[in-house]
């Protein structure tokens, strides 16, 4: 062997210990001092094993260095610099990938008029007001969708059906019938079906809550925080804020719904960026089990877009919550910061993504007329249609999409260590920002790397001090899209 050099990994520190996040395999290894010193010595200056042994002779005996070198070679943290870099696997779009989740847009109508909404706001891609799509999904289309879902689920035993909108509960009548039909079909087919829905909570009447509880429907509430946050953008068509309407209804739901955890989903904007305050209000004051944050999806220059330093501000607060999460985890307490919880699960499993999410693969969105799109955010868009529930998935179109959106084609990502988890980010975000789903979301790369590093450090701390906590992630459950 001529000279050893570093291969691809991201080093991070937790509890004063050194860890490596291997790229692209996504393995996480703890390395001891001799190994760490080998890596440090090789950083930027490849050298032969003998030179390396000599360079470290004052700190480590030769046999220890030799062992460390062997082990580092074994996990590909180091390698012969003259060997070509490991070739990535050829792009082969998965064939007959079973459907895990179908998101059913039962209506594209909404009783709120949130200014930043991707479905109705300035960046909408489907004409939801005057377009040709029906405003409400019919019972028949919903039934056809259920048949489609079970058909596409293939050998999967469990199918997930998510009701979505518009405002989902505007079509409560069809929801009820569809759930019953899906249950019946599941029994006949020997499968299981799980239900969830997303709502703005304005229509959570007592009988709706009853139905959600009785049917164990997982609920995600779109809410932006305390009154001043919620009423900034989440308004009725007359401009009135929705907080006072939704707040008592959400409290009632949280009081009653004990069969499935209820989560909150917060849209962060330039005007609504007090992450800590929002989190406190939604968990401590209102009682949500978990809270997930997402920066608003927007084209450049919108007055609610998060930009520049605001990303750092958001990151600092995410880090604060992550620290809290870690403290809780070390004492086996629950903490509701779901962004971190989900990423920890991905890190624990060592997910290395060929695609940023399951859209068009294990997840599809169904529009009100039964057109099948990549995900719910594209439901109704002809450009992003990959079939229909009546005629099935257009395999050729799906294949083409998967081929062109594979991480192998995102050359910008090829030198980034965070690509196993990010894989270029949300297609819809990219489409809104750059006009194409195939473009990696370069506007938040630094943010993603910093955040991923934080998640890795928390993971390392928990792995060091309370590894049992991580057992919850051993379950073989699909990660929510």
């Amino acid at each position: 062997m001529s000279a050893l050099g570093l291969r691809e990994f991201h080093p991070f520190e937790a509890s004063g210990q050194h860890f490596l996040y291997m790229v692209p395999s996504a393995g996480v290894f703890h390395v001891d001092t001799p190994s760490w010193n080998v890596l440090r010595t090789l950083d930027g200056q490849p050298m032969a094993p003998e030179e390396l042994t000599e360079a470290l002779a004052d700190r480590h005996p030769a046999n220890e260095v030799a062992d460390a070198i062997q082990e580092l070679l074994g996990i590909h943290a180091i390698g012969d610099v003259h060997l070509p870099p490991t070739k990535s696997l050829p792009v082969i779009p998965p064939q007959d990938f079973p459907l895990t989740t179908m998101v059913l847009n039962v209506t594209n109508k909404c009783n709120l008029a949130c200014t930043y909404c991707y479905e109705y706001g300035e960046d909408k891609i489907v004409d939801t007001d005057f377009g040709e799509k029906p405003k409400f999904m019919s019972e028949e289309t919903a039934r056809e969708s259920v048949d489609f879902m079970f058909e596409e689920a293939g050998t999967n035993r469990v199918a997930n059906l998510t009701f979505f909108g518009g405002e989902t509960l505007l079509n409560f009548k069809v929801l009820k019938k569809t759930l019953v039909y899906a249950r019946e079909r599941a029994v006949i087919l020997g499968k299981e079906v799980q239900f969830s829905l997303t709502t703005n909570a304005t229509l959570l009447r007592p009988e709706v809550i009853e139905w959600l509880v009785d049917n164990e429907v997982g609920v995600t509430i779109s809410i932006d925080g305390p009154k001043e946050s919620q009423d900034e953008f989440r308004v009725f068509k007359n401009g009135m804020g929705s907080y006072d309407v939704v707040q008592p209804k959400i409290r009632e739901l949280l009081k009653r719904h004990n069969t499935r955890p209820v989560g909150a989903r917060v849209t962060l904007t330039k005007q609504n960026l007090d992450v800590m305050k929002i989190f406190r209000h939604l968990t401590d004051d209102m009682g949500f089990w978990s809270v997930g944050f997402a920066p608003v999806t927007t084209a450049n220059g919108r007055d609610y877009a998060i930009e520049g330093d605001e990303y750092n501000d958001m990151l600092a607060q995410f880090e604060e919550l992550a620290e809290e999460f870690k403290e809780a985890a070390l004492e086996n307490r629950h903490h509701g910061f779901s962004n971190l919880n989900e990423t920890l699960e991905e890190i624990h499993k060592g997910m290395s993504k060929a695609f940023p999410c399951g859209a068009g693969l294990g997840l599809v969105g169904v529009a009100t007329d039964g057109d099948v799109a990549l995900c719910h955010r594209f439901a109704g868009s002809d450009e992003h249609k990959i079939g229909s529930v009546q005629s099935g998935v257009d395999r050729e179109k799906q294949s083409r999409f998967l081929e062109t959106h594979h991480i192998a084609h995102k050359t910008d990502c090829h030198t980034c260590w965070a690509r196993p988890l990010c894989a270029g980010g949300c297609y819809h975000e990219a489409h809104t920002r750059y006009g194409t789903t195939a473009q990696p979301n370069l506007h938040y790369c630094d943010w993603v790397r910093s955040w991923t590093d934080t998640c890795l450090r928390v993971y390392g701390e928990i792995a060091t001090h309370n590894p049992d906590f991580l057992r919850q992630y051993d379950r073989v459950a699909p990660i929510p899209a």
Binding site: F19, M22, S25, A26, G27, V28, F29, H30, V31, D32, P34, S35, E64, D67, A68, E71, L72, G74, I75, I347, H348, K349, G350, M351, S352, Y459, G460, A463, D474
Partner: protein
């Protein structure tokens, strides 16, 4: 491993992969089996695919007992292996080690006897 510890599920798998014993390992893996050209990885005898076996009856001669009528006479087979596919056992490394191995063999069907053995 003494110096490195696998922490997440993927790291455990990488470690197991590295530890795999010959005969049980994955082809090409460290400590695993060698990859053999043209092979299939199913259990059972090693049958190369993509070219004829040297001992396959009926391949070396045509119906008249000669070689001229074969679609790929033995003489050509040698060059087929040499140029067309990678069959390291039968032909020397003509790129690095024995570049002039066939220099005396202008026409394979006439001159193939002139090709000598190559010793490392």
């Amino acid at each position: 491993m003494k110096h490195i510890k696998a922490i997440n599920q993927k790291a455990v798998r990488i470690e197991e992969y590295g530890r795999s014993e010959p005969g049980t390992g994955t082809a090409g893996g460290p400590g695993g089996d060698d990859v053999v050209a043209l092979e299939t990885r199913d259990s059972g005898p090693h049958i190369p695919l993509g070219c004829s076996l040297v001992f396959s009856p009926g391949w070396e001669v045509d119906s008249s007992g000669g070689t001229a009528g074969l679609c790929a006479p033995v003489e050509r087979d040698l060059f087929d292996c040499h140029n067309g596919c990678f069959w390291p056992v039968q032909v020397p490394d003509h790129l690095n080690h024995a570049a002039d191995w066939t220099s005396t063999c202008a026409t394979a069907q006439q001159d193939w006897r002139k090709i000598d053995l190559i010793f490392p």
